[in-house]
Amino acid sequence: MTARLLAGLAAAALLPALLALLPVLHLAPNRLVTGAPVMASDALGAWLWPVVALAALGPALLVAGQGRASAALAGLACLAALALLLLGLGAGAADLIAGKPPATRARLASGAWIGLIMLAGVAALTAGRARLPGAGFTAAAAVAAVLAGLWCSGSLDALSLAVELRIRSDSLGTAFRDHLALTFGALGLAACVTGGLALWRRGRGTVELVVSGVQVVPAVALLGGLVAAISALLAAAPALRGYGISALGSGPALLGIAAYLLLPLWRGQEAARRATDPDTLDAGRALGLTAGQILTTIRLPLGAPLFVGGLRVAVVQALGLATLGALVGAGGLGTLVFDGMAQFAPDLILLGALPIIVLALAAEGTLGSLEAALRRRWPR
């Protein structure tokens, strides 16, 4: 009992200590410099004490409390703390940049980032503890709803990320669509190749060797090599240019990304194929099942979770690798990231990086829970 209380007290002290020690905002004269740190006591103003109280209450209840009711209460406290912290930061940023030149930026600093991430993480943990249906999704939806509500009410408009987003909303939209097109294009290409290779029964050993050999080649090197190879090809046969083949652009990016996706997809389908042992198949045939019935009643249920597991790894990898597509001029969210790195503009880097992280986490979460659901539906 005492140990539980002590742990609860420590959990309660964590976030307030963080807010007391680390700056929550940086006030910079323009978008390219880091600027002067602003502490929570100056930035949050009247919001400080409600935020601190709720941020202490949530984690403390999660650690020290027992049962679903206290977990649900902890989750609500975390969500409220998250909302109030963002509201306070938005208001503080508006106060800080009021009356300053228009280039002035108020940027979220380390304390704010760590605080926001920890509050969202604790909210996710409480959703699991409260045994809500689809705990992760419920928590993610709640956090997204808080963000959307604050965004629509305009209370975040003074933060530098929102300013950058307003300037770049068009190019962000294009980059987002390009990113998804690259990801799913490469996924489709890799799936077709894997399907073809799966039919080549005798070459399994060779395929395994080549497909895992590709993984050793660093992605930057493969993309560079592909561009070099295609431009050598075009120099040897200039007529190919007429068919729209070019050394830069989405061609090498699609090929390069697809090459890395072969391994997870190949392993997934191999595992799914091996999941049914010959005895089970014999038993099915002896019962008089047709080939189609064997596929739907034996092979698919046994193999599906394993294949979805491979697909999950492939989708997450594809979303990350598509970032590098911008290197060879294929567009995508990497364009914003690399532009931001070249200009040393943190807001632009974040504008490209945050959607990539959110997309990858969403893919991981969705396909991961599909995998788990398939396993529950057909236990082995």
Binding site: Q215, V216, P218, V220, A221, L223, A232, I349, E364
Partner: protein, 238 residues
């Protein structure tokens, strides 16, 4: 007939790629575009820098990843296992380019953001691999050692680690390939590695330098893989 050692394939491939990255050969391979091959000395300096950065990252990742893996497999920490698995999945979802990019404003240009990305991206797979390798040690082996009266530390040193050694080397192989790959990405943050000629070559259409960088990076990855494969084969025989 003696079986072919598994390290032979990557060794030969790595040496061939290294030879192909020599300016004379690469200039022949990469026709078209600008022809400004990197001199051998510059390429060797970049390779050495790449190697030092990747090796430092790998050493940190190995110590932290295997160390945390050893802690996580102790019975009293069994409750954290599910947490480690989901944390590893989440950490893998953030691509290394993004880690490098996010670390850039905080740590500045060059080596530090690359090293951070190396550690951030490599540690969870190593931790998960270590846990997997130690889990593969059978309960019977542990119980037999316990029955002989060995202390937990003795069981770890003389039963668990030797039995898990091959699995640990496989984990390190994955970490090494990741380290070489992430170090190449570090060129985007201004670290001078073998990724530098690739990135610069893409920007100013210097196809030969790009090809040299790509071949040399791939060669480094295959040679490192060969070294660890040979180590793993030795440990399996011992």
């Amino acid at each position: 007939m003696r079986p072919v050692p598994p390290a032979l394939g990557p060794l030969l491939l790595g040496s061939a790629l290294a030879a192909a990255s020599h300016p004379a050969i690469a200039a022949r391979l990469g026709a078209g575009g600008a022809q400004r091959p990197l001199a051998t000395g510059r390429l060797a300096a970049l390779a050495l820098n790449h190697l030092v950065l990747a090796a430092t990252g790998l050493a940190i990742v190995a110590v932290l990843g295997i160390g945390l893996g050893l802690i996580a497999t102790r019975p009293r920490f069994a409750a954290f296992r599910a947490g480690i698995d989901s944390l590893a999945a989440l950490a893998q979802a953030v691509p290394p380019v993004v880690v490098v990019a996010l670390a850039l404003p905080v740590l500045g240009f060059g080596g530090p953001p690359t090293l951070l990305a190396l550690v951030a991206y490599g540690i969870m797979p190593t931790l998960r691999g270590t846990v997997g390798a130690l889990d593969a040690v059978t309960v019977e082996a542990r119980e037999r050692a316990q029955a002989l009266g060995l202390t937990p530390a003795q069981i770890l040193a003389s039963i668990e680690l030797p039995l898990a050694a091959a699995g640990l080397v496989d984990t390190l192989r994955t970490a090494l390939v990741l380290a070489v790959s992430v170090t190449a990405v570090g060129a985007l943050a201004g670290a001078s590695t073998l990724g530098t000629p690739i990135v610069a070559g893409l920007q100013n259409q210097n196809i030969v330098a790009m090809l040299q960088g790509a071949l040399a990076t791939a060669s480094l990855a295959f040679l490192g893989d060969a070294a660890l494969l040979a180590l793993g084969a030795r440990l399996r025989r011992a």
